[in-house]
Symmetry: C2
Subunit: 383 residues, 2 copies
């Protein structure tokens, strides 16, 4: 059920002392081959962290042998010194395991604007390299947690091959902490170009549609490594479908564990002229604080949904909009629909469906409500 | 200090019974001429309320004789029936005062998706028409309040002419309630084209730059009426400057009274390549929930400021960004700057200054922090 489920990977999770809590904070995932094909997607935030700069270079040639990750510090906005810290970390892994430095990706998560304590980190790296083993995925998943309350792991089986994954993050519901880091492994035999295509499609339909608070981290990274150890080369379409399902599973786990949230909300937009329209409308609703507060309050406030739709560029006629909360169409044709008292928002799962009546495309965005605990977590975090 | 300060206007504020609180809820401002030149700006939300549809038509010819406003119901998403309600309200004012129906603008604010109780409203309209007088501005300012805790009024004196204004709203910090309504009056002798140009410039530099929670109302309206009663025609530049100052005064009053807020935040962006860049950067910071929670927590979290800047399209180099909180440059050149412990955020006013080092343009966006009370107000509002 984790990154060491596919053949050809070992992993570790150790405690380097980076976190005040004393919990484990350094994770390592090593691809033992025979292939070292890899692909990655990174935050599109123009202010990105040193490990993102480093890893983007490292994966540029489509090859990775290992990923080293730390929680307890994002190493973002730390200048040239921070970049050197990332490079030094990668070099240490390469030295201890006999790898090529440029084949080691680095991920960091934690507070922005603070240098990492390199002596502690490098000692942790040494221990991780010494202890990585074929059952180490669970320990790695635990070591990348920050405000996560549970580790996120998943696996999917193909015919003779499999994909495993671990993730951390609270769907951006947490601050400097908020970074989403995901490491995916497969023993399928696929080249870097195939991995890249599959990963872009999978992330577009999963992590890109999980939007907790609209804030994009400086450190978000999703890395996919293929060992080829199964010697099986799946159809790329089959692999992409499996990878997409796995990423959607991990995205749901991230949203379900979002800090401070009391409701998980799926916003399904149907009847859109284009998929981009559906996505824009879903995202705009997901980013409306008024809507998110209403869900927290158990209020099926469809006026706030229409108000959010109205600022998008999507094709629609305001007089044709239908909005349902948990199956009750409280707004029909842009006006008052069924009795809002029929809507039950007491459960943790909320399904909001919007029909734009402008076409046949759809998209679903996952988000959370806005709660006292969200404010509390994010007001008290770094002080 | 209000809309009846300029010559040629009478006003009223009465209690029609639209609000559960029993407070006054119908306001009327009448332009007695000799001119009936007018201009207006409305919400750009594509889902806009019936009174916005009505008033946009009414002011299309550059003439208004009166504005009738109600709190206690937004008359938004109410279909053709809602539009008829707005038209009926305008016609009633025209009938009672001997005006032309198409010269009466209508504004509404309150919950979306609920029809107005027209019997109560029209009785209130009758009373307002019967009681409008030259000292009625204060009563009008009170009658348009929703979650506002204080009325917002201002006046500015020119040479032989003046401008007065009233406003309501919580800078979009409130929900269906959130509508910003502004009525401005002047006794200057200016035609509709001059008023339109001055109003567009003034709102661009004032209300458009007050962004409390990024949510745009279905009902936002700013109306400017000129009576010409002073017989003075000011230079348009002088008039525009005065009007802009008055609107900025009212915008500050709106932000200062934003629901649930514990800090008023001015985000000043300097060194921008274009004014649009400065505005985009300021707005993105103002819309970051993470930043707003940090201010609530008294935390000068510059990492969240950089993270917000990074998602804009503005011209800047991440390694040249300077960020100050209340005069302390906590981020210099994109890295750790002066000691954050030197920043005092205990006061209500917070000044955040960002220097993009990419040019010489500037813009200031006003916003608030994100607090428990914001969540409370917006979770409990309509249930």
């Amino acid at each position: 059920m984790t990154v060491t489920s596919p053949q050809g990977f070992v992993a570790a999770g150790v405690t380097a002392g980076l976190k005040a809590s004393g919990r484990s904070d350094v994770a390592l995932i090593v691809n033992q081959g025979p292939s070292m094909a890899a692909a990655a997607v990174f935050t599109s935030n123009r202010v990105h962290a040193a490990p993102v700069k480093w890893s983007r270079q490292a994966v540029a040639d489509g090859q990775l042998q290992a990923v080293i990750l730390n929680s307890g510090g994002a190493n973002a906005c730390t200048g040239p010194g921070g970049f050197t810290d990332s490079a030094t970390t990668a070099a240490r892994v390469a030295d201890r395991l006999g790898l090529i430095t440029d084949n080691v990706a680095v991920c960091s998560t934690g507070l922005i604007g603070v240098r990492l304590p390199m002596d502690l980190l490098l000692a942790g790296v040494d221990e991780a390299c010494a202890t990585a083993h074929a059952d180490g995925g669970d320990a790695a998943a635990a070591a990348i947690m920050t405000t996560d309350t549970v580790p996120k792991q998943a696996v999917v089986q193909g015919e003779g091959w499999s994909i495993g994954g671990i993730a951390k993050g609270a769907g951006m519901l947490a601050p400097g902490l908020a970074t989403m880091l995901v490491v995916l492994t497969t023993d399928a035999a696929l080249d870097a170009a195939a991995l890249e295509a599959a990963l872009r499609e999978a992330t577009r339909l999963s992590f890109d549609r999980a939007d907790s608070d609209g804030c994009m981290s400086t450190n978000d990274t999703v890395i996919l490594m293929a060992s080829g150890a199964s010697s099986v080369t799946p159809e790329i379409a089959d692999f992409t479908t499996a990878l997409t399902g796995l990423c959607q599973d991990l995205a749901r786990q991230l949203i379900a564990d979002a800090e401070g949230a009391s409701h998980e909300i799926a916003i399904e937009v149907t009847g859109a002229a284009t998929e981009a329209d559906a996505e824009e409308v879903g995202r705009e609703i997901a980013r409306s604080n008024l809507f998110k507060c209403a869900i927290f309050g158990g209020d099926p406030n469809w006026g706030r949904v229409l108000s959010a739709i109205g600022v998008t560029r999507a094709a629609f006629d305001p007089d044709e909009l239908d909005v349902s909360f948990n199956g009750v169409m409280v707004c029909r044709g842009g006006q008052i629909g069924d009795d809002r008292a029929l809507v039950d928002l007491s459960g943790r799962h909320v399904q909001v469906t919007v029909d734009l009546h402008a076409g046949s495309e759809t998209a679903t965005i996952l988000t959370n409500d806005l709660t006292y605990d969200y404010v509390k977590e994010n007001a008290e975090y770094s002080s």
